[in-house]
């Protein structure tokens, strides 16, 4: 199971469009695919017409009260499932801070799904937070959409610098321009 996070510190760069389209393409080619909408805005969840709600919210999720598999919803597309967003994700950082080894939390939660999916796409919220660090730990690939603006490039530099300082070598970084025609 490959975990690909669509991530950027900056918002509005096309993270959701990236994860939704890549996940759809993977599923369409026959790969068993899951999207986890980690953004409390719930845009990916909205795309698939699923209600942005999970049983027990972030707290129950992070405490492991529910099996992650029980929260998954099928989308209208074959091979493509969704773990919906929930408004309580906005406090995910605070809750993570309260758990043991917060950086490993996401990886741990996803591990039981290893035999079930070929790809998991994480649609991440913007920011560089404790949740982001948990994402970095879980991901095999960080897909980073960057738009050609000085602010977007600035956050890319911040990310590269953060990765270097923290010596995060477990994931590849794929940086690309979305919203452009090749």
């Amino acid at each position: 199971m490959q975990i690909l996070a669509s991530y950027n510190i900056k918002g509005g760069v096309g993270k959701t469009a990236t994860s939704v389209n890549l996940a759809f393409q993977g599923a369409h080619e026959g790969a068993r695919t899951l999207i986890w909408d980690l953004d409390p805005q719930g845009a990916a969840t909205f795309y698939f017409r699923v209600r942005p709600k999970i049983k027990g919210g972030s707290r129950a999720l992070l405490k492991g009260r529910h099996d992650l598999a029980d929260l998954i919803k099928a989308t209208d597309h074959e091979n493509l499932d969704l773990l919906p967003s929930d408004f309580s994700y906005r406090t995910m950082d605070l809750l993570l801070d309260d758990t043991k080894k917060p950086n490993e939390r996401l990886k741990l939660l996803l591990s039981p799904l290893a035999g079930e999916y070929d790809y998991v796409f994480l649609d991440c919220p913007p920011g560089l937070t404790l949740l982001s660090e948990s994402i970095f730990e879980a991901a095999n690939v960080l897909v980073v959409p960057v738009i050609p603006t000085s602010l977007s490039l600035r956050t890319l530099k911040q990310l590269v610098e953060f990765r270097r300082k923290k010596q995060l070598r477990n994931f590849k970084m794929l940086v690309f321009f979305p919203m452009t025609n090749p």
């Binding site: 080619e29 026959g30 017409r49 209600r51 099928a74 039981p112 079930e116």
Partner: protein, 535 residues
């Protein structure tokens, strides 16, 4: 929602299937379903499914199926689905080339890395084709989100000149996270007294076509009667080997993979060995012609099989060389491929020749002839004959092995290898006359010895052949000097391995010749005959 556990972890939704007796009833049912539930229709679809497996049903034995699904009403959409046998769950699904020939050439298909460990070295063969018509209904909730799909599937089997109706079934496709709609439809189907199907389409077609996947046995287990006559037993042994030959005859001619020839050749060798070792069971004039025929077949199948083995082992030859020299062997691979194609053509011709047809028909007459043999050997009680032959064969192996020392020529080990092979065949022929447990004790040391002798022989034969191939290459055309150097290096590696096998020989032979094994042989085969026991 009902979930099924697969491979310990994989959680996949079960898709209940309900049988509907006829198309009219199916259509009426669809109308009733639409009246009761908020289901809307989607355009119907036409597909063709082709099922694949190897000749020896490797996927089926692994509880799996491979099915190519091709859309036939619009476009050229085609999928290759790797399914679990029970319940038809999809293990992997990948876009597929449409042409059947491409599927059969495993290297070109996307699922190759997953399938190859199961299939190698066998080829995929198409088993049968079915036409599928799908009528789709979809249930959407108030957010316009699909929460259930229902499919009416009508299937027809492709026969030679017509399509045969198979069945109509309603398939419920639940959506993960939305259990209620599927529960309601399932309840409805049960109230309608529809029969829930456990048998998959694959099994239904297999029984229609009288296919018995997984039943092929390259070494059939014979059940001989201990009190029976030896001539009857020998006919049964020969008959079983002949069945295997027949099953592999066409495949050996067409050669989609190397194993048809392998199994054909082994079956011939077993029959030949039985005829030669059980002398005196039939009058010599009755079977001499067949002995010659089997010798001819052994001779004719040898060259292609040898070349097959080289090609199958080619990658391991390459890895025996330093990495930078591995590519130097490519010219040798080319030569093997050319020679293999030539030999295969000759073999195919031989197996369709008048000589082969004549042999096959006279042999059939001999096997079917129930006239008792006129010789005393034919009338003898089979367990008595078997005991005598097995003991004699074992003692011969013992004598040959004991005579081998450090100075013995390689030929002495080759001779012992042949004698051990004969003993192994005899044990396999007569296994059913004794209990399995008793047999395992004597088979184990024999197998260990055969393993070392086999390696010794392979290394020796391969060195000789490599030298010959080297000469052929040198004569044929300007050949890169590096290829001949690489082949030379291979010869010395094989020489080394041959020496190692020879060193191991004393160890494995001492197990075979131990007092314990000798006692086991003597105890087992010096028993009184069944008739004597009854008295």
């Amino acid at each position: 929602m009902e979930r099924t556990q697969l491979n310990g972890r994989l959680m996949i939704l079960k898709r209940p299937h309900f049988q509907i007796p006829s198309l009219t009833e199916a259509q009426a049912l669809l109308e009733r379903v639409k009246e009761q539930f908020p289901l809307s229709e989607l355009p119907s679809q036409l597909w063709e499914y082709v099922y694949y497996d190897t000749f020896d049903s490797r996927l089926y034995k692994n509880q799996q199926l491979l099915r190519q699904e091709t859309r036939t009403d619009v476009g050229d959409e085609s999928w290759l689905c790797w399914l679990s046998l029970t319940g038809n769950r999809v293990l992997q699904r990948g876009r597929s080339p449409v042409q059947e020939s491409v599927i059969q050439q495993l290297p070109s298909i996307p699922l190759r890395p997953l399938l190859e460990p199961i299939l190698h070295p066998r080829a995929l063969l198409s088993l049968f084709k079915i036409a599928v018509q799908q009528e789709w209904l979809v249930w959407k909730n108030k957010d316009d989100k699909t929460v259930l799909r229902v499919m009416l599937e009508s299937t027809q089997l492709f026969r030679e000149n017509y399509l045969e109706d198979l069945q109509h079934r309603l398939i419920i496709l639940p959506f993960r996270g939305y259990p209620k709609p599927s529960q309601q439809i399932i309840r409805f189907c049960r109230e309608e007294s529809l029969e829930e199907l456990n048998e998959d389409l694959f099994q239904i077609v297999c029984s229609k076509l009288e296919l018995k996947p997984g039943s092929y046995q390259p070494k059939p287990k014979l059940k001989l009667s201990p009190l029976g006559r030896t001539d009857q037993a020998l006919r049964a042994i020969l008959g079983e080997s002949t069945k295997v030959m027949d099953l592999n005859h066409q495949g050996t001619i067409e050669a989609p993979d190397t194993e048809f020839l392998h199994d054909f050749r082994v079956a011939c060798r077993r029959a030949r060995s039985a005829l030669n070792q059980l002398k005196g069971v039939f009058p010599p004039e009755q079977i001499q012609g067949f002995r010659d025929d089997f010798a001819w077949l052994s001779d004719r199948t040898g060259p292609t099989r040898d070349l097959d083995v080289y090609l199958l082992d080619f990658n391991s030859y390459q890895t025996q060389l330093p990495e930078e020299q591995q590519a130097d062997l490519e010219a040798f691979r080319e030569l093997l491929l050319t020679e293999n194609a030539k030999e295969q053509k000759l073999l195919a011709k031989d197996l369709q020749s008048k000589r082969f047809q004549k042999f096959r028909s006279t042999w059939e007459q001999f096997l079917k002839d129930e006239t008792p043999s006129t010789t005393p050997g034919g009338a003898a009680e089979v367990r008595k004959t078997a005991s005598k032959r097995l003991l004699r064969s074992y003692h011969r192996c013992l004598a040959e092995g004991k005579a081998i020392d450090e100075d013995s020529p390689d030929e002495a080990l080759h001779d012992l290898r042949k004698s051990c092979k004969k003993l192994r065949y005899l044990l396999e022929f007569f296994e059913s006359l004794w209990s399995t447990k008793e047999f395992q004790g004597i088979l184990k040391p024999l197998k260990a010895l055969q393993e070392d002798l086999g390696q010794f022989n392979d290394c020796s034969v391969q060195q000789e052949s490599l030298k010959n191939f080297g000469d052929m290459l040198a004569k044929q055309q300007p050949v890169p000097a590096q290829t001949l150097v690489a082949m030379g290096m291979l010869v010395s590696t094989l020489n080394q391995r041959q020496a190692e096998a020879r060193q191991r020989f004393q160890g494995s032979f001492s197990g075979f010749a131990s007092t314990r094994t000798q006692n086991r042989f003597n105890l087992l085969f010096q028993q009184p005959t069944v008739a004597e026991e009854l008295n």
